[in-house]
Subunit: 203 residues, 4 copies
DNA sequence: GATGAATGAGCCTTCATTCAT
DNA sequence: AATGAATGAAGGCTCATTCAT
């Protein structure tokens, strides 16, 4: 179990998710995206995953663990999306641009995920979780550090640079999504540049 | 009724809140800050406010209305804190500095409020609510606009400038609160300057 | 108190109901007719009667007493409607006709009253209530008794004759109201005659 | 599941109801008969049925559905009792006699059922419900129709004949049950004949 | 007499979790 | 491993009734 197998080993035509664990996580995710966080009840997750209620408790100790694993999964997915197309060979500014746009697009497309995060972030974190974040965002840390070393970025802890570079994005999404403020393509480009201005050293 | 009276008429030592409405709102707030959003049940709010369950429904149509009014209240309190000490006579940069620090301190001291906001923001907004936000943040809007007119700020919608100027703050608080990252006084000063860099025009 | 007074003693132009007791009863009645029996809460009755909640308890021991008095009132109103235009001078058949039509019209116009009755009838009856019924329907009893004495009606207790003569009416109303069965004028006339057939002696 | 099993396989002495659905319905019925309609709370039904509160919601969407199914069940039981021993081979008068007595006995033994009906009848009816009534009482309809065709019954819609033939029964039961009027065997026989007089053609 | 704010028991319903099969 | 019926605590809300004013 616990793997995604190809039904046909010769040619990868059909992918069926046999792993109940993942099916359950995806079901929960689907419910969140469709109807928000409070729509997630074990009963509904089971139905959505086409699994018996009790089965969920074979894979997760309790609801909290299920949610925590969902958090993990989403962090992974976000990290992947965030870092996609970002290579060490690229210039600092190019990498910054890609990261920024990746984050923007991810948040534009996963509005409800924010709520999950905010919800989960306040729960007591276990060591594993912190280690995961460390690991996932290591490349970003390195990116900031090398920018600092090159004298291009302000000499600040990478967490602070992260906040300065990407902190506006959630706010921007909140404006466009919740308050129906429309930003133009030019506005967005300007925001990207402003993010760059925020982290770089100025004469 | 509905007033805050001083128990001691000579000197205002003890303030007793007679107004049940506000007592209930504060009780709910307290619960949120102590134990998070899901700790808010009508029963618990009533207990905290030292009031019978039914009493809450004399002051609020239902739980949604209670939460919405809590949102209102918090927006007001935030707006007040945010704008405190900010005068038109001050220079743009001085005003920016005060706003930024005000927001920072507010969020540092009201960590759970974030969760309330994120929760409430997804609920359907009524016209009253939108008008309130417009009204409360009008001075901020004017601040950004005049900065743009003076050629000091980037020529962007005030909402975007808001996101660029203050969007990092929540992220910074999240880092210090949730992930226990410690920032120095110097880091904070640098962040304030970075925020200024983000919104101002560069040669 | 407890009376209906004419505002202007010279000329009876305006009748204002000063009697809170009756205002409350009418309010309860209105609620039943508008929204059914379960719409009757003390709070709503008070609002409808434009009276404070507590005031109701000055006039009625508790809700049960209010309902019982409502029952009384309705019995009186029904008896009045039932007997209207019925005179001893009229022939038996003429009186039967009037009673039958009166009952029919009353029930057609007061559909919800049935539910009130059925509801109230199961409550424990006090002596006063039984006496009231005796008193109100005494004329009907006499009508049946004199019919029996004249050899026109079947020699049965007047209660039984009552059931035979008027028992169909509720059923007829139920059909037309609830099951949307439409009866013609001729059907109704036939029903009236059938009622007569039921109680009279046949050769 | 969902069956009635005999505890003792040799001889059917003890019948234990395994079917929770029916156990719940019977529990509700029992409560109505014991203490009236307002005694029916989900909590009490659960207790009576020796079942957890939540269990009821496994079998019924909500209280309304439970009540509606109770209505169905009672209609069926009544129809069965009403039509029992009535055969097409019997004369019209014999069939009338049996129907009348069946209805009488049913109502004498199920006094509170009336209240349930009156309560439920005012709820909005769904198509299923109307169809059920049509189906259950089809034989009665045919009985009246054939009586009309044979020139024995008055030429009226079968619903009207139903009201004329059986409408007194509820009233009779109300008198004996609620007002403690005692009718003799002879009175009852006379009432049966009066019912026959009401629906038949007279020269 | 009159008010209406306050009470808390009780209502319907949902949900995380368990356990016999 | 998998099921899903069963549980009962807890949720939001209503209501008859009381009592200080």
């Amino acid at each position: 179990m616990r793997n995604i197998i190809a039904e046909n080993t010769e040619q990868m035509f059909i992918l069926v998710i046999t792993d109940k664990r993942i099916r359950i996580l995806i079901a929960a995710e689907t419910l969140i995206n469709q109807s928000g966080l409070e729509a997630v009840s074990i009963h509904r997750v089971a139905k959505q995953a086409k699994v018996a209620t009790g089965t969920i408790y074979l894979y997760f100790k309790d609801k909290d663990e299920l949610m925590a694993e969902l958090h993990d999964r989403n962090l992974r997915l976000f990290a992947e999306a965030f870092l996609s197309g970002v290579e060490n060979a690229q210039s600092l500014q190019e990498r910054h641009r890609r990261l920024w746009l990746n984050a923007l697009h991810y948040h534009q497309e996963n509005v409800n995920v924010q709520r999950l995060w905010v919800h989960l972030e306040t729960l007591p974190k276990n060591a594993h979780h912190k280690a995961l974040i460390q690991e996932l965002f290591e490349p970003v840390k390195l990116f900031f550090r090398s920018g600092v070393e090159q004298g291009c970025f302000k000499p600040l802890p990478s967490e602070m640079l992260y906040a300065l570079a990407f902190g506006q994005i959630l706010e921007i999404c909140r404006f466009s999504y919740l308050r129906e403020v429309k930003f133009t393509k030019q506005d967005m480009d300007a925001a990207l540049l402003a993010s760059w201005d925020a982290i770089t050293v100025h004469p």
